[in-house]
């Protein structure tokens, strides 16, 4: 099989549609993973021992099972109990939920790294619990977490091709469709690889930069 540049250019618009869905799925999944992870981490710290254990085991369960299985569950099994999700929504929930168990660990470590004296100062200044979190702890805990969170963002991005298994027409799936219709694999699949590389290399540089910028100074 020979590389055909003209053909490659001709399928570019169709692949771009896939790119947009890939980016959508990554960003929406990340927003979900980052917020849900924070709620999980704070929830574990403020709730009693029993709910905290439940959150812990729930998180472990999600983390220790493959994302692909979870995607099948969300898309193919939930309709059996009357919950029908569009492929993209199921995919975003799947990625977001799965990676929230990882980001929760990042948040937990970040929160535990805040000096005990900060909690005590907040108490001595009579801060209510909510403001102790929002005005004292979280603003200090988050900057050192940024590099780790950015790494999970890149990982989520690289995992989006899994969504093709639940019929989301993201980049990988659009390439597969093109290939099936034209019987040419070399151009679409190479272009998918190049696209992921083109995003991954700068993001590695970005995460190195973040590492320097936000690493704890003390």
């Amino acid at each position: 099989m020979q590389w055909d540049t003209e053909f490659a250019i001709s399928i570019l618009p169709r692949l771009m549609e896939g790119v947009i869905v890939t980016i959508q799925a990554t960003l929406l999944g990340a927003v979900l993973a980052f917020t849900l992870g924070l709620l999980l981490a704070v929830g574990r710290l403020v709730s009693g021992p029993v709910p905290s254990k439940c959150l812990y085991w729930g998180g472990e369960f999600i983390r220790r099972t493959p994302l692909l299985v979870q995607l099948y569950f969300l898309f193919y099994l939930l309709p059996e109990i009357g919950i029908v999700l569009s492929p993209l929504v199921a995919g975003v929930i799947g990625i977001g939920l799965h990676y929230s168990t990882y980001t929760a660990e990042v948040y937990r470590a970040g929160i535990e790294n805040v000096d005990r004296g900060q909690w005590e100062a907040a108490r001595a200044l009579n801060y209510p619990p909510a403001q102790t979190w929002t005005k004292v702890i979280i603003p200090q805990a988050v900057p050192p977490m940024i590099p780790a969170l950015a790494n999970y963002l890149i990982t989520m991005f690289k995992e989006t091709p899994l969504l093709s298994a639940i019929t989301v027409i993201e980049l990988m799936n659009s390439a597969r469709i093109v290939a099936n219709q034209t019987y040419r694999y070399i151009e679409p699949i190479t272009m998918v690889g190049l696209f992921f590389l083109a995003v991954s290399i700068p993001s590695v540089l970005l995460s190195l930069w973040l590492e320097n910028r936000f690493a704890r100074q003390d």
Partner: protein, 257 residues
């Protein structure tokens, strides 16, 4: 018990597991009184302040602040352990200055002093700022409003911490070795501020310190602790010149030598 008492410890005890840190402690502090707590390391001085600031709970006994139970509240004629709400009410009268400052590193000096007023006393922004600027000028940091704690010396940090605590208008101020984390040449700038507070305000003050000469001029009364009990207390002249107890003498000797 005297009605006109700002702080009372009544048979107060504190243990960490098997380690008893305070043993049936009884003492009273009058409104406006300036008290120094001295004693060897591990004698329980910090623990007393932390119990008052509600950072540490009591194991048994009672603590009263301005006649109100601190760690208990009355429910249907019975004393029960205090709720968070009750602690919040009583705590509003108390401010604390820590050995390691505990400033908020992500906030400017000005914000360190305005934000607590806004959050825990609901002061409007312009008034909070006005009060903060006035206090920061009082501690000699009127020119550092936009600096961050990381840009300040230890002495400057501790002065910001004092301004921050004062901004909430406490009636009781607790100082836990406020100068012991400072380089020697920075100690006096903090002591000067405290001296001014002692002279110019009627706040009740409890100071834990190893600065004996400052304790002597600052306080109305000095209490010497050892192993969680009060060994001896009295006017500074008496304690420093004429201690009655052997243990006090031995302890003070180390500071003269």
């Amino acid at each position: 018990m005297n009605d006109n008492t700002m702080i009372s410890f009544e048979n107060a005890s504190k243990s960490y597991g098997a380690l008893q840190v305070l043993r049936n402690l009884n003492f009273h502090v009058d409104p406006g009184e300036k008290i120094s707590l001295i004693g060897p390391s591990g004698s329980g001085k910090t623990t007393i302040l932390r119990i008052l600031m509600t950072l540490e709970s009591l194991t048994s006994g009672y603590v009263l602040v301005d006649g109100q139970q601190l760690w208990h509240e009355e429910k249907q004629g019975q004393l029960v352990p205090a709720s968070e709400k009750h602690l919040q009410n009583v705590r509003a009268d108390i401010g604390m200055v820590f050995q390691h400052f505990n400033l908020f590193p992500h906030l400017s000096v000005l914000k360190n002093v305005t934000e607590p007023q806004r959050i825990s006393r609901g002061v409007a922004a312009p008034e909070a700022k006005e009060a903060a600027v006035e206090l920061l000028e009082m501690v000699g940091l009127g020119d550092k409003l936009d600096h961050y704690p990381g840009q300040l010396s230890g002495g400057q940090k501790q002065r910001v911490a004092i301004a921050r605590a004062l901004a909430l208008k406490p009636r009781i101020m607790l100082f836990d070795e406020p100068t012991s984390a400072l380089d020697p040449e920075l100690v006096s700038e903090v002591l000067n501020v405290m001296r001014k507070l002692a002279h110019e305000t009627d706040m009740t003050m409890l100071l834990v310190t190893h600065e004996m000469s400052f304790a002597r001029e600052f306080s109305d009364r000095v209490i010497f602790f050892d192993k969680g009990v009060i060994v001896e207390q009295g006017a500074p002249e008496q304690i420093f010149q004429n201690p009655c107890e052997e243990r006090t003498r031995n302890f003070l000797h180390k500071f003269i030598a």
